[in-house]
Amino acid sequence: MEAVIAMVIMVLVFGIAMMIYTNVTRLSLSVRKIRAQAILQEFLYQTAKKSSKDNQHIQVDEFEIEQKVSPFGPGTGLIQIELTAFGENHQQLAQLQQIISDANEAH
């Protein structure tokens, strides 16, 4: 009888432990999302230094990066840049937007 109870407890404990492990793993942060976010930051930094800033699609490693550029206010010399990183199946992984100067950052 005691062995049966012990076995049942073991099964329950292992079952609960597996559930917890699965949930934690499933809900934990995706390394790909973090990487996509970091790539977007780097991409934005590089774009700010470029002289031409247009709408474009670029493939960086396994990510497809979409760059949308729109003017920010009339006559301000500023543009709003929106970067989105997509993974497989065009799944959005990260997004970033910032207002930057349309001129080249030379100083």
């Binding site: 062995a3 404990v13 492990y21 942060l29 934005l44 937007q97 207002i99 930057i100 100083h107």
Partner: protein, 418 residues
């Protein structure tokens, strides 16, 4: 015996597994919390950078009062922007927030130098040349009278400098100095307005600090004619309607001082903007670090016939701008006097005369109507003796005030503030 121990073992194993599970949950929780913090910070930083670009590209007074903006129409991407004048510079304040997280950035703004207007010497054309004597050197493009530049024998000294009297191109100067920026002069003129009487607190004799995020505090120094053993920093204007003496024991950081006359005692160190209407006297061995400003400003005709005067004592060093301005030129023009071995890293704009003693070293540019050199018995006009004016040694990161005629249109962050 075996059966009983198996139950105990199971309980112990269950305990161990529960401990591992709780550690796993805790690790996941803290990892996620840290990531969210980092993600939030990144987003607020992006918004801050957007705000910085908006303020740096703004050339009017539309952000004089704080203005809230929602970037991309998303309520979580809200920023509040403000840009207000601070003497010869501007201050930018950015507050960006998302839920309960807030990020502030406060900085001063200045302009990049316009190389087409930038010169080591700008001497107005009064149909007489600039004469050099002793070991004088001028490096960088110069704008000089059409009569040009020549060597001279003065005080038993011949010219012993470089065979090229000016290392750089020489352009013709006009008969007038390029004017200082009118809108900025108007903002500086407002500094001299008497502060309001109501609700003011007595001047803290020990000093005070005020953040640039808050509104400017004007401290009237009615009874206090000498500042000593005090520390003032931040968003403060010290106002005196009489002569103010600043002792070397005083610490001034980023503040503005406005007075009829200002006397800075020898050995003072700090960075601040000093504005006087009658005279500004700096003792010896003083060091005004960048960005500082020493100004003589008269928006009305002088009450006395005495000329306005800025004087720097021996071995003093000023990094920033020194300028004199008189709206209505009096009989005696204002004068800037630099004593022996003084050093200026930045710009000098002298509407009247600029008197230089031997050993003066100017890393930057000079604009003046007239140079003066005083020997023991004679006063010479447009003579430079043992003086070094070198534009090339000025830091490439030097930024100018929008007041200066050499200022370009591009604005940059000058200094991060609190």
């Amino acid at each position: 015996m075996l059966k009983a121990s198996s139950l105990y073992m199971v309980i112990i194993i269950a305990l161990v597994i529960s401990l591992i599970c709780s550690a796993l949950i805790s690790a996941a929780y803290f990892y996620r919390a840290q990531y969210q913090l980092h993600f939030q910070y990144d987003r607020l930083m992006n918004n801050c950078n957007s705000g910085i670009q908006i303020l740096l590209n703004n050339g009017d007074s539309s952000y004089r009062e704080p203005q809230a903006l929602s970037l991309s129409g998303n309520p979580t991407d809200s920023i509040i922007l403000q840009k207000y004048p601070w003497g010869i510079f501007d201050i930018g304040v950015i507050k960006t927030f998302s839920h309960r997280d807030t990020l502030w950035r406060v900085f001063s703004i200045a302009n990049q130098i316009d190389s087409s207007k930038w010169s080591s010497v700008y001497l107005i054309d009064e149909d007489r040349p600039l004469s050099l004597s002793g070991k004088t050197s001028i490096c960088g493009d110069a704008r000089l009278p059409k009569a040009g530049v020549k060597t001279a024998y003065l005080d038993n000294q011949s010219y012993t400098g470089n065979e090229h009297l000016v290392k750089g191109h020489i352009f013709d100067s006009d008969r007038q100095l390029p004017p200082l920026a009118g809108p900025r002069l108007e903002l500086i003129r407002r500094l001299f307005r008497q502060p309001e009487e109501t609700g003011r607190r007595p001047a803290p004799s020990g000093g005070t600090t005020r953040s640039f995020r808050l509104s400017t505090r004007v401290i009237r120094l009615d009874d206090l004619t000498t500042l000593q053993n005090a520390s003032f920093s931040g968003n403060l204007i010290l106002y005196s309607d009489t002569t103010l003496t600043i002792d070397s024991t005083v610490s001034l950081q980023d503040v503005i001082v406005v007075a009829k006359s200002i006397q800075v005692k020898s050995g003072f160190h700090g960075h601040c903007q000093l504005y006087a209407t009658d005279s500004l006297s700096v003792g010896s061995d003083c060091h005004f670090t960048y960005p500082s400003c020493l100004a003589l400003f008269r928006s009305t005709a002088g009450v006395t016939d005495l000329p306005g005067r800025i004087s720097l004592g021996e071995h003093s060093h000023v990094e920033g701008l020194i300028f004199t301005y008189e709206k209505q030129t009096g009989k005696l023009p204002p004068i800037i006097r630099l004593a022996k071995n003084t050093m200026v890293s930045g710009q000098i704009y002298s509407q009247g005369s600029l008197s230089l003693k031997e050993g003066v070293n100017i890393q930057g540019g000079v604009m003046t109507s007239r140079f003066l050199y005083a020997s023991s018995i004679t006063l010479y006009e447009n003579y430079l003796v043992n003086t070094r004016i070198d534009l090339t040694t000025l830091s490439r990161y030097y930024l100018s005030s929008p007041l200066s005629p050499s200022a370009g249109a591009t604005q940059h962050i000058l200094q991060w503030l609190k």
